[in-house]
């Protein structure tokens, strides 16, 4: 008989080594997340996947499930905190959804819809983050970076290229590319790299594609992210 824990009061079975998030998703319970990706080890930076276990807040993407745990996830308290984390991400960068080509396909945006975020609430930082358009096929718009490091991990662990890394610290942390010039054009980045196709927001973009998908046909137009993610195993 498989072991189980309680997720928002519902029994959820798990196997050894499964994290809370993995087991919950497998059982059809969505937990919001941005830096977690099914093909990579947990990262634990975005903190959207926080849940409450035994009164303590933990990252469900990283914490192995344990027999008998009582996990709270979809509660007003936790969702309120998740919303605040999203608000922090929104004010930290420059997220202009109306003119962003990732609108409708953006996980940050979709999650904010799902958590009914109506305002970024906090005061905006309005940082100056110039775009890097040097590469023939790809554009980097750092304004929208949420530091999930999926590109860093994909480039390093899958593409074997190490095109990206984070530099700077704290609020000044930013994405850097593997070139002395600091220009993407001077790296070996290619449009079919996994890192070129994994950005959950609108930082790493294929040039000259723009608004190819019309409103109504975009990923999160018809269904909210909690449905899409479970259907597509994301």
């Amino acid at each position: 008989m498989s072991r189980q824990f309680l997720f928002d009061g519902q029994p959820v079975p798990f196997e050894d080594g499964q994290t809370i998030l993995q087991a919950a998703h497998a059982a059809g319970h969505y937990i919001p997340h941005l830096c977690w990706h099914p093909d990579f080890p947990p990262h634990g930076s975005c903190k959207l996947c926080i849940v409450k276990v035994g009164g303590r807040h933990v990252s469900s993407c990283a914490l192995p499930a344990k027999e008998g745990m009582e996990v709270e996830s979809n509660t007003p308290e936790i969702n309120g905190e998740r919303r605040a984390l999203l608000q922090m991400l929104f004010v930290e960068g420059n997220h202009f959804c109306p003119s962003c080509e990732k609108s409708g396909n953006c996980q940050l945006q979709a999650l904010a819809y799902d958590l009914e975020m109506l305002t970024p609430r906090f005061n905006h930082f309005f940082p100056d983050r110039p775009v890097d358009a040097s590469h023939r096929d790809m554009l980097l718009d750092f304004n929208r970076c949420i530091f999930c490091e999926l590109c860093v991990r994909a480039s390093r662990d899958v593409d074997g290229k190490n095109v990206f890394a984070l530099t700077g610290r704290g609020i000044h942390k930013h994405l850097a590319v593997n070139a002395e010039s600091g220009r993407l054009a001077d790296t070996d980045f290619a449009a079919d790299d996994l890192a070129a196709n994994i950005c959950p927001v609108g930082v790493i973009l294929h040039k000259r594609v723009g608004f190819a998908v019309t409103i109504g046909k975009r990923k999160y137009d018809a269904k909210p992210i909690h449905t899409v993610a479970l259907e597509e195993g994301e």
Partner: protein, 492 residues
Amino acid sequence: MSFELETAQNRDTLRRVAIDPVSRVEGHGKVTLLLDEHDEVREARLHIVEFRGFEVFIQGRPYWEVPVMVQRLCGICPVSHHLAAAKALDVAVGATPVTASAEKMRRLMHYGQMLQSHALHFFHLSSPDLLFGFDSEVARRNIVGVAAAHPEVARQGVLLRKYGQEVIRATAGKKVHGTSAVPGGMNRHLADADHELLSRDINQIVDWSRAAVELVKRLHRADPALYDVFGSFESAMMSLVRADGAMDLYDGDLRFRDADGKVLIDHLCDQDYASVICEEVKSWSYMKFPFMRARGPEQGWYKVGPLARVQNCDFIPTPFAEAERREFIDHGRGRPVHATLAYHWARMIEMLHAAEVIRELLDDPDLRSGELLTTGTRRREGVGIIEAPRGTLIHHYRIGEDDLVTMCNLIVSTTHNNQAMNTAVREVAKRYLSGRRLTEGLLNHIEVAVRAFDPCLSCATHALGQMPLVVELSTADGQCVDRVVRESTHCG
């Protein structure tokens, strides 16, 4: 003449009257008047007081983002900006021409916008003035008042606009600020369901549009002394015209006529606009003043929009609207019509034309299938010009090798009319206000003149009625001595 009241002598000794705000789109506007001790108007200016910096921050953005960004210049005619930018960028990506399906979808979108915008302006904004009189009871002078007095007119106005918005939604993805025009074409066809929906109602829409033209003509006939004279001034005109001289609101070459109707410049390729048009900056407005380079700022200014377009083209390529155009031209008895209120008449002719074009387009199978995108040789520069509801709209971009915009210059419709609106304000001030004690009704005359141009300003603020207005009379040292605040009109 037109600059007569622009700047008064001894400004310090004059009394200031402000109409603030006049309106607010692409900038908030206000009118200031300077009066001397005899209440004679010595200076009248329409200031555009907002600056949003689009031209600057578009620079450095990838070009394919631009058609979506620029819509936020204006929520009333976003489609114009969307398409003007897309057309400019078609040039840059070598997509000239775009595919038949793409062009027809864009035309449908554009004429849908023409329909909604003209309906909005006439029914929601201007009809109260025209139906009830400029200094009629304030409480009644709005769309709700129209609904009470002429319920069918108000209903048709709302539904005409609604239809236009539905056309935009079906072609652009959203009623306001869609995303479907992309450099090189479109990202969608017309869905079958939308085709069915739009086709079902289009005959009704054409009929109501014809009725709207009749309504304006009736108003003109009822009071020619007012309609032919109010705020009238002579000026040159500019618009796009199709190669064969037909009215075309989506594409064409630039044609300029002088005040007498003589063609000054014809078949000017849109890409070459800058060889003819330049802009003057004045210290008292954030909006520039365009003029024809060769004639200089004093002589070279012109008006744009329906009044210019209906008279600048040789014919309108749809039957009902063409018949109406002929009647309009005949009204001038061989001279161009310069009456400011004739804008409304011309505007309704264009609305009818838009409805007819939509009806024709809906029968075209290209809307529902066929290639949507094309490309060709990349260029570093592109100009897109379109006839927006309010007049000629120019978008001009240069693009770097890295696909980022390096230069953006926009001359929006209302800007072309900047001098014309100022002139109209001065004409009205001189004729109706000078030497008289100012009343709310008199001041409304100034608004009526401004509103006739349908500057993005008025259509916005006055979406459902009169513009908010306060008039302050101040002594020379700026002390407020009198204050006229319009009474509130409570609806319902």
